[in-house]
């Protein structure tokens, strides 16, 4: 009898919480930090990149790739990340991808969230790695980027932010972060091979 009352009360609280959250328009998103899954087939690719959010107005917690080819009903693909800047996604079909956006919450006390879109390589060739045309199975680097404050904010205006490709951390350092996430999978060998190639080259 007493336990029934408690479970009823918990249920009510849960319902109220769900209703409150669903009507408050606050964005709930669970950061995908899981490890890479093994090959689902040997015709797939893994893509990886890096975002330095140290000067960004948000903490990098989510992002999406857009699959351009082959065409699919669900082209927006949530990336996985490690909260240190690395983002990646494995077991994608060979094809064309673009970084759709990278983002995160503005802060603990803020209701704002960000989805950052990079300039198109057709306008700014330095962002060419944001568009990937993969023609064979393997692992592919989509670049390392930094978001920084390009104009200071003040009392009457908001700060402005810009992004640029960066070479720190290097691809090798990013691959070392990826190695942790791909440990024990067949991707690991490809990551090691790429590290070797870059360090010897």
């Amino acid at each position: 009898m007493y336990s029934n009352m408690i479970s009823n009360r918990i249920l009510k609280i849960a319902i109220i919480l769900i209703l409150t959250l669903s009507t408050s328009s606050c964005l709930i998103f669970w950061t995908k930090t899981g490890d890479a899954e093994d090959y689902t087939n040997n015709k797939s690719i893994l893509v990886y990149g890096f975002l330095d959010d140290s000067e960004a107005p948000f903490s990098f917690r989510w992002g999406q790739l857009r699959q351009m080819l082959p065409k699919t009903d669900e082209p927006f693909l949530d990336v996985k990340l490690n909260k240190k800047g690395l983002f990646y996604l494995e077991n994608l079909p060979v094809g064309s991808y673009t970084i759709h956006n990278l983002g995160g919450p503005e802060g603990f006390f803020s209701n704002n969230s960000w989805r950052w879109t990079f300039p198109s390589p057709s306008d700014k060739p330095e962002f060419k790695l944001t568009e990937l045309r993969a023609t064979a199975p393997g692992i592919y680097f989509m670049g390392a980027y930094k978001i920084y404050e390009s104009r200071k904010g003040g009392f009457f205006r908001n700060a402005e932010y810009s992004s640029l490709p960066v070479d720190k951390p290097s691809e090798v350092e990013i691959l070392k972060q990826l190695l942790v996430k791909t440990h024990g999978t067949k991707w690991e060998a490809l990551v090691l091979s790429r590290i070797n190639k870059l360090t010897k080259g």
Partner: protein
């Protein structure tokens, strides 16, 4: 050219986009291709006829839309910038005075004031419009930098601009722009059939304005 603007998803921006789209979709604000020739006053107005093509075509499945409000045609909707050059197009909504809503792969029939030069600057289309509490939209800009001016004889009632074809890659990068007026005869037949009109389409003299010569104005 793809939009490069950084985006922060705030409620106010979401609301603005939704409101803009509502206006956009119900057609109150943007000039639209005409359905009835009797609404045109030939003394003061000239009808411009042409077509926008995107190659490869944007298929319905290419555009991700979750707004049900009349957005089923969004995949073939192209918002054409005309009249006033704003220079580099970035992310903007509104400015209905200089925007015309046309469907790709279909003739457009746009009446404009006579005596005013008719200039086209390309335009934009959506590849995504999704969301609930926050809106995510992706816009692609295909710009005719500097503009394409259509000149015509004084007495013309209907002017054939031609087909403006934007060649793209799978990332929606603009690769090439071509303009062809070969379809004049076929466009003439379609015009006369649609409007039961005897107007003769006059081929426009097209002048491509180089960006550096264009008067750059801001909105």
């Amino acid at each position: 050219m793809k939009t490069t603007m950084k985006t922060t998803i705030r409620k106010s921006i979401s609301l603005l986009i939704v409101l803009s789209m509502a206006v956009f979709l119900n057609g109150c604000a943007y000039k639209r291709t005409m359905d009835d020739i009797s609404s045109v006053n030939p003394t003061n107005e000239v009808i411009f006829v042409g077509r926008i093509e995107i190659d490869p075509k944007i298929e319905k499945d290419d555009v991700k839309v979750t707004f049900a409000l009349g957005a089923s045609d969004l995949y073939r909707t192209f918002v054409m910038r005309h009249g006033e050059d704003i220079g580099e197009m970035t992310q903007y909504v509104g400015d209905s005075e200089h925007s015309a809503l046309v469907y790709t792969d279909e003739d457009f029939y746009l009446p404009f004031e006579r005596n005013e030069p008719f200039k086209m600057f390309g335009g934009y289309f959506y590849t995504q419009l999704q969301g609930g509490g926050s809106v995510q939209s992706s816009t692609v800009f295909f710009q005719l930098k500097g503009g394409l001016e259509a000149r015509y004889p004084k007495g013309a009632k209907a002017v054939y601009v031609g087909t403006i074809k934007f060649k793209r890659d799978e990332f929606y990068n603009l690769k090439n722009i071509s303009v062809s007026q070969d379809g004049l005869e076929a466009a003439q037949k379609r015009f006369q059939t649609k409007f039961k009109s005897k107007y003769t389409l006059v081929k426009a003299e097209l002048v491509r304005v180089k960006p550096e010569n264009a008067s750059k104005t801001t909105k």
